[in-house]
């Protein structure tokens, strides 16, 4: 089991293409870490640097405390599962699984045992004599996973391994991967652009953007306390509604003006906003924090809106509403909700749950709910990550 630490790691391609920009990250022993971000954010490059497939331009990469920047990939004792499976095309499943072990001079009986155990676990023990071209995508995926598992490495590096599978298979594999991780307790670094995967699988999520780490933390923590509007807009489906607004009213913090409507800021929430009094801000409202009937508890503001669309998903219904000035918000509703496009209905926005972000940088000013103001030690929070960061 491995503890993987990145210290100021930077990757520059060619002369000046900065792929990964001075990142610090610790992946703890046995942890399931998800690197999440849109394509081109540097997450795959980060994973490939850990694997040794890309050289580290500057900074240190440590595995179990040792700097491994110049260690051959084969000697890092890590296994990679690739997006396109990357099976050896002319070898049978059995030989694919045995290849790495044979190169490591593993005794044949050990190889046989491991292959038997692994293939039984993955349910591919009936495929040993097949070639990759004779397997379905899902089967190839399992073989690719099996090839990593038989090696019994220090850590697993998964590079978007589920993205080529259909939705149903992907869900099944998610569960399976979690199960395997729990069983083996090995360190896993999983790269994905799918926030559902990240939320469901990761013990911690590391969100990246443009070569930098934006935020690291357990899924729910990141979800509740997005470090900036990018993270807020990236997680969950539909994601947080982000609306342009301006702090206004008495002292410049008593209300936030969203052009068509204006929302009061509850008195106890105003303090963190004072520094931004009268400024442009980005207002974040989660779809589940808007209701069509006034809840019994809490502080809500009624706004009358026009229904733009109603998306019936089954277990829930997404209502897309026009606040009046062209600003639209998505609202999550129960399965029984009904409305017709063009109808005017009232909405109740939970004023306690509104998030505030700086207009330019997008950095969080105030999170919704009980969490209150964003900690001033935001910088160290980002680096350290985790719930045990100072409160």
């Amino acid at each position: 089991m491995a503890n993987i630490v990145l210290e100021g790691v930077t990757k520059v391609y060619g002369q000046d293409i900065l792929a990964v920009d001075n990142i610090d990250l610790e992946i703890r022993e046995g942890e399931f870490m998800v690197l999440l971000g849109p394509s081109g954010c540097g997450k795959s490059t980060t994973l490939r640097m850990i694997a040794g497939l890309e050289e580290v331009t500057s900074g240190n990469l440590k595995i179990n405390g040792e700097i491994v920047n110049d260690v051959d990939p084969a000697d890092r004792d890590l296994a990679v599962v690739f997006q396109n499976y990357a099976l050896y095309p002319h070898m049978t499943v059995e030989r694919n699984l045995a290849f790495g072990l044979k190169l490591r001079k593993t005794p044949q009986e050990v190889i046989d045992r491991r292959i038997r155990d692994t293939t039984t676990m993955l349910g591919i023990d009936n495929l040993l004599d097949r070639r990759p071209s004779e397997l379905s995508g899902g089967q190839q995926q399992r073989v690719a996973l099996g090839r990593a598992l038989v090696r019994d490495p220090e850590a697993f590096l998964l590079d978007e391994p589920l993205s080529n599978l259909d939705a149903k298979l992907r869900a099944a594999m998610r569960t399976e991967l979690i199960k395997i991780h729990r069983m083996l307790g090995k360190t896993v670094v999983h790269v994905t652009h799918d926030q559902v995967e990240a939320m469901t699988m990761g013990e911690r999520i590391c969100i990246m953007r443009e070569g930098r780490i934006i935020q690291v933390g357990p899924p729910l923590d990141v979800y509740r306390h997005p470090a900036d509007s990018f993270v807020a807009g990236f997680l969950a489906s539909p994601p947080m509604n982000l609306l342009e607004g301006k702090l206004a009213g008495h002292h410049g913090v008593n209300e936030v003006d969203l052009s068509a409507i204006s929302l009061p800021v509850p008195r106890h929430r105003r303090a963190p906003l004072r520094r931004h009094a009268g400024s442009e801000v980005v207002v974040g409202i989660r779809p589940e924090d808007v209701h069509t009937e006034e809840p019994a508890e809490g502080v809500h503001r009624r706004v009358d809106i026009t229904v733009v669309a109603v998306e019936v998903l089954g277990p829930e219904v997404i209502l897309v509403a026009d606040l009046g000035s062209g600003q639209e918000i998505s609202v999550r509703q129960g399965p029984t909700f009904e409305a017709v496009a063009g109808a005017r209905i009232p909405l109740y926005i939970d004023l306690e749950q509104i998030h505030f972000f700086e207009a330019g940088s997008g950095l969080a000013i105030l999170h919704g709910g009980a969490s209150g103001p964003v900690r001033p030690e935001l910088g160290s929070y980002l680096k350290e990550g985790g719930p045990e960061a100072p409160a």
Binding site: A51, P73, A74, A86, L87, Y88, F99, L103, R147, R151
Partner: protein, 298 residues
């Protein structure tokens, strides 16, 4: 559900008919262009058609084929052709692959290398033959002069039967090897990167990567490259015609030049057609075999 239309055809059927209508002229002309010379050759091969009596008045059945088979030097020519084809393809494949691998790994000046590599291919084979005949002149050529500088005695490149065969093979390779290299480079460029990375993670050496990943993944491209070169090599004519006229003796008497002589020196187009038809059967058989092999890779 199929919807029947006024003319009793389903919509899909009408679509098919319309498609056929659109492609018919193309298919038809292709068919004519390909099959006409073919049948013309076969038809000629069973007639006593000579340049002196260019008509189909005398049907001779398999006589032309019999005559061709009885010819003293035909087996030798076939054997020389076989050796030539095998030697040039094997060597071209090895050199071509080596060049392709190094070109593939080259990051800088790639286009310059391509240009240099392609240059021989762009030269007319007649010019290639004349050029090398001049360079390889046993007494005055620059090649013998150069090797003389390092103390190697002059080589009779085209005068010695054994050497001349290899001279012709190497000239052909010089001319054609880039064709193989370029096809293989294209194949290499299309290979996925990930299996190599998987192999790196597994700790496989470069040679193992080549054997276990590159070769198997390249097999369809290799098959196509070899098939094309095979067909071209069997048809090799110009460099023989220019450089050796099939000599010394029969050392470089390739079948295409042999057939050419039957037609234009022997004036016997019927017999030449019979030999051409035989050659076609051989090429078709080889092509069919390689084609099936290629399909089996899918």
């Amino acid at each position: 559900m199929s919807v029947a239309t006024a003319d009793g055809l389903t919509l899909a059927g009408r679509d098919r008919r319309f498609g056929l209508l659109l492609t018919a002229p193309g298919l038809l002309s292709l068919l004519i262009v390909i099959t006409f010379p073919l049948f013309f050759t076969l038809y000629t091969s069973v007639h006593d058609y000579t340049l002196l009596t260019p008509n189909y008045d005398t049907f001779v059945g398999t006589e032309n084929y019999q005559e061709a088979l009885d010819e003293e030097y035909l087996p030798g020519s076939l054997w020389v052709t076989t050796k030539f084809v095998l030697a040039s393809i094997v060597i071209e494949f090895i050199i071509g692959f080596a060049v392709a691998l190094s070109l593939h790994a080259t990051r800088r000046f790639g286009s310059i290398y391509y240009l240099i590599l392609l240059a021989p291919l762009l030269i007319n084979p007649v010019v290639v033959g004349l050029l090398w005949r001049m360079l390889l002149h046993s007494e005055l050529g620059i090649v013998n002069y150069t090797i003389g500088l390092v103390g190697i005695s002059p080589v009779s490149w085209l005068g010695d039967a054994d050497v001349a065969f290899w001279t012709v093979v190497l000239t052909d390779i010089w001319h054609q090897v880039s064709f193989m290299a370029i096809l293989l480079v294209a194949g290499l460029a299309a290979l996925p990167r990930e299996p190599y990375e998987a192999a790196r993670m597994d700790g496989a050496s470069t040679i193992r990567c080549f054997i276990h990943i590159t070769l198997p993944l390249m097999r369809p491209v290799i098959a196509v490259a070899i098939l094309l070169r095979l067909i071209f090599a069997i048809k090799t004519f110009d460099i023989i015609f220019i450089m050796t006229k099939g000599g010394p003796g029969t050392a470089t008497d390739l079948i295409s030049y042999y057939i050419y002589r039957a037609a234009f020196f022997g004036l016997d187009v019927g017999r030449a057609s019979a030999m051409a038809a035989g050659l076609l059967v051989i090429i078709l058989a080889l092509t069919a075999y390689l084609y099936r092999y290629m399909n089996s890779l899918k």
